[in-house]
């Protein structure tokens, strides 16, 4: 209708979109920026497992916790696996469940839905951010472990695959739980309510010897993740096929709920 319109359309046609990889990177950068600016959440997600590991490794360092298959497993070996696992769960499951439900409630997701940012890029950015945080955390735990004198693991392929499968599964579960949370103020409580009992029965902080409890915990995703990491860290073994499969199934179920029940809007229609 007026002269200004033509300039809009011409310039819009002139510039192409950024490619998808660049957009994902753009998104990761701002997720990182936002994360490190919030010292409280950075501390709990990031420093908390390190502090825990330092304490547990200090107390149980060279104590033989149990024997398995003719091998002795020391506190250092055991806790470098389980605390690495718990740090991944914190960075992926807890972080996503809380962040996504909070962003939904505050209308940030709705606002983002009003921009051309594709939904998958938003998720890719978030998940990649969580995986980066997990990997830094695991790397720091390993470094601390080495400083304490834990033998350096040999099966790196198994460690990396297990971390990726675990991180992906717990990201999916985090978003799934975020979809079930109705009120973001309750999100941390809901997250912990699910998380804490599982962590305890799965032997994260102490060795569980009850077979019944171990069998029960083996159905849920936390113990299989611990076991899959213990393989290379403590038993000098490679892939834990069965445990990885259980984790992957949980990941798929979580992913299904995450996608199907996802809402952008704080108020359901």
């Amino acid at each position: 209708m007026t002269a200004g319109v033509s300039s809009h359309t011409e310039s819009a046609a002139a510039s192409p979109r950024r490619n998808a990889a660049a957009l994902v990177w753009h998104q990761i950068r701002y997720e990182q920026l936002s994360f490190w600016r919030n010292p409280q959440s950075a501390f709990f997600l990031f420093a908390f497992p390190l502090v825990f590991f330092a304490i547990l490794a200090g107390v149980f360092g060279n104590t033989v916790l149990f024997r398995y298959d003719g091998r002795t497993v020391t506190g250092l070996q055991y806790y470098s696996s389980t605390i690495a696992a718990v740090s991944v769960m914190g960075a992926c499951y807890s972080q996503l469940a809380i962040t996504v439900s909070l962003r939904r409630q505050e209308g940030i997701l709705k606002r983002l839905r009003g921009t051309p940012l594709p939904a998958w890029v938003m998720f890719a950015g978030l998940v990649a951010h969580c995986i980066i945080i997990s990997f830094i955390d695991v790397a720091l735990i390993l470094i601390m472990g080495v400083l304490y004198g834990v033998p350096f693991p040999a099966h790196w392929d198994a460690i990396i695959v297990t971390l990726v499968v675990g991180a992906a599964a717990f990201c999916a579960l985090g978003v799934a739980v975020a979809n079930l949370v109705r009120n973001a103020e309750a999100a941390p409580a809901v997250v912990q309510f699910i998380f804490f009992p599982l962590v305890f029965i799965s032997g994260t902080y102490f060795v569980i010897t009850s077979k019944a409890l171990n069998d029960l915990a083996g159905i849920f995703p936390v113990r299989p993740f611990n076991q899959a990491l213990l393989n290379p860290f403590a038993f000098d073994r490679g892939f834990a096929g069965h445990q990885l499969l259980v984790l992957a199934i949980w990941g798929v179920v979580g992913g299904f709920v995450a996608v199907r029940r996802f809402r952008w809007d704080p108020r359901p229609e």
């Binding site: 007026t2 200004g4 979109r17 940030i108 809007d265």
Partner: protein, 316 residues
């Protein structure tokens, strides 16, 4: 091509008909304002146009796209800007980071610095969003709405919580965008805002448009009778006055007239003759707010029956 075309739009939530047959068009370079009380269907209409909700029936075209079509959703959102009622900004990023982040989502964004300046946040670039005042956050919201260089801009109560000078500033920005050819859809509770900004307004009530026109003539405002209002001077009664007057709501007397010139002359002449004054004397015609309240009150009273002002079809 019109920027926004809405034809017989309908949307119900359960048994509540939130939008019951709404039609209008908005051109590029035009500010169109949707007025109405809470729950009248304003936000539902806007959210259907923005692609957040799907209509039950009726056609909607925004910048050439159907907002309900997921396949063209990204293309549509590259063409529109949205400022929602709720503040929703990442607390830990700075103003500049927030605007830069969103500018990366669009193929043809406006320059970040220019947009920050335009909304009046120059000097606040490095401030974290959580440290901003409510009005400043709202301005950041406006910046995010326009960073993508939209052809159609949706503003849902954009100046709620602004101080008067910030409001003037925002109006200035909105007018500039209109003059650049942007189509702007505005909802507001402030009649002065609609009066100042809108090229056309539509009053929506009970899910229907009950009146549509330019602000100056809406509801026959320009042809309405003038009202002379004043306080009765001490020691006189209404019967002493040279013209018939009725008691108004605010305690003043009211004299209505098609042309107030002659009546005013008689009144002031009478006062001068009696060496008295007419305190709080004003002469006006119904404001946009008076017309709006008249229209929406009738609607609320008639809500149970068939709305008398409804001229468009689509009754169940």
């Amino acid at each position: 091509m019109d920027a926004v075309v809405v034809e017989d739009l309908q949307k119900a939530y359960g048994s509540t008909r939130a939008v019951a047959g709404v039609s209008f068009t908005v051109g590029f370079g035009e500010i169109f304002s949707l007025l109405g009380p809470n729950g009248a269907g304003k936000t539902t209409t806007m959210e259907i146009l923005e692609g957040y909700r799907r209509q039950d029936a009726g056609n909607v075209v925004v910048a050439g796209f159907n907002p309900g079509d997921r396949r063209t959703g990204r293309q549509l959102r590259e063409q529109i800007g949205i400022v929602l009622q709720d503040l929703a900004v990442e607390p830990n990023l700075t103003v500049r980071e927030m605007v830069s982040r969103n500018s990366g989502y669009y193929p043809n964004p406006r320059p970040v610095g220019e947009v920050i300046e335009l909304v009046g946040l120059a000097g606040k670039e490095k401030a974290q969003v959580k440290s901003l005042s409510g009005g400043q956050k709202r301005r950041l919201d406006l910046a995010l709405g326009i960073i993508g260089n939209p052809r159609v801009l949706f503003l849902d109560e954009p100046t709620t919580g602004f101080d008067p000078s910030a409001r003037r500033g925002a109006w200035e920005v909105i007018r500039e965008l209109r003059d650049l050819g942007t189509a702007i859809m505005l909802t507001t509770h402030y009649m002065d805002e609609a009066q100042e900004l809108a090229d056309r307004v539509a009053v929506i009530s009970g899910g229907k448009i009950v009146e549509e026109g330019i602000p100056a003539t809406l509801g026959g405002r320009d042809r309405a009778r003038a009202r002379i209002r004043f306080l009765l001077p001490d020691g006189y009664s209404a019967a002493d006055l040279p013209v018939p007057a009725t008691a108004g709501e605010d305690g003043r007397l009211v004299v209505e007239a098609d042309d107030p010139t002659e009546l005013l002359y008689r009144l002031t002449g009478w006062a001068v003759e009696h060496h008295t004054a007419l305190p709080s004397l004003t002469v006006d015609r119904p404001s946009l707010e008076d017309i709006y309240l008249g229209l929406t009150t009738v609607q609320t009273e008639a809500a149970s029956g068939v709305a008398p002002g409804a001229r468009r079809g689509a009754t169940p």
